[in-house]
């Protein structure tokens, strides 16, 4: 019973698995939900909904990481991530939205002004994709991808089949299509332009 001291310096809030909070919850610290929160939730920091957690609320936060269940809308000023265990029904408004393979989601996604990030922010080499099975707690710092730098348009011979050619990325926001060039069909028996045009 004299246990209170050991929690004294805690800087984050945890809602344990058997706890139900219904009403309005607000705060300026991270919140981890293992139990259930219903109503309204607003934080200036990060909401973490763990696999046992259920949030049935309208949520306004800086970041949200959902591994449990969220029913309601999330507005985040930075990012929303649904991890592979995350399930959500509702709308997401956030400049960054990450949905990992395995997550399930129904609703709208609004990333706002869909401008590609400036090329200056792009790392020199393309970072490896994060594995789809990213852990439930991703690193907070994630490289912000930027627009692919514009390359001088080389004459485009048909690129190798399959993956396309990573070193020759087009503009992220390509100019209107150039006049149709002659189509190279069936070079090497593998490449082929499939053209079936109907009016």
């Amino acid at each position: 019973m004299a246990a209170t001291k050991e929690f004294g310096s805690s800087e984050s809030t945890i809602i344990g698995p058997s706890i139900l909070i219904s009403g309005k919850l607000s705060g300026d610290e991270d919140l981890t939900v293992r139990g259930r929160v219903e109503g309204e939730l607003s934080l200036t920091r990060t909401l973490i909904v763990e696999p046992s957690g259920i949030v049935k609320a309208n949520v306004a936060v800086k970041n949200a990481i959902v591994s449990g269940v969220v029913v309601g809308n999330i507005t985040a000023t930075e990012s929303v991530e649904l991890t592979k265990e995350g399930r959500m029904v509702g709308d997401i408004r956030s400049p960054r939205v990450i949905i990992v393979d395995g997550a399930s989601f129904r609703g709208r996604v609004d990333m706002g002004n869909a401008e590609p990030r400036p090329a200056s922010e792009r790392p020199a080499t393309r970072p490896a994709y994060r594995p789809a099975t990213a852990s439930a707690r991703p690193a907070t710092v994630i490289a912000r991808p930027a627009a692919v730098p514009v390359r001088a348009g080389k004459p485009a011979p048909p690129p190798p089949p399959g993956k396309g050619d990573k070193s020759d990325k087009g503009e992220a926001k390509p100019a209107p299509p150039p006049p149709p060039a002659p189509v190279l069909v069936g070079e090497g028996g593998k490449k082929k332009v499939l053209l079936k045009k109907k009016k």
């Binding site: 994630i142 087009g170 299509p177 190279l184 082929k192 332009v193």
Partner: protein, 114 residues
């Protein structure tokens, strides 16, 4: 008509307007406007632009897509992608950095008491 094990590429200089139907995998590096109906995998490379309603088994987007997407298995919206439209698929993956505006419909299994 391509057979299933072929990879078909719509190269960078190409624009297709109209509807595109077929089996076999398709890689778009150019531009497609209209409708796409594909039995297998569609890849939109980072130079590719597809302004079309898309039906495919499975879809990887590195470029730009606008229109509604109906995929049987999976839609992957990668880092460099920019996608507008409504998506229906069993699995949808959005990588960090991708830009997506629209709705997503997957099957969400919720606890009974919610």
């Amino acid at each position: 008509m391509a057979t299933n094990d072929q990879i078909n590429i719509i190269g960078k200089g190409i624009t297709i307007r109209g509807s595109l139907t077929g089996a076999g995998d398709l890689v778009v590096e150019g531009r497609v406007e209209g409708q796409v109906n594909l039995k297998n995998h569609l890849t939109i490379e980072s130079s590719g632009i597809v302004e079309a309603d898309i039906r495919a088994d499975d879809l990887t987007i590195n470029g730009t897509a606008s229109g509604n997407i109906d995929a049987i298995t999976k839609v992957s919206i990668n880092q460099s992608a920019k996608v507008n439209g409504d998506i229906k698929a069993t699995r949808v993956v959005i990588e960090d950095g991708a830009v997506f505006n629209g709705s997503i419909e997957m099957d969400v299994k919720l606890p009974d008491d919610i």
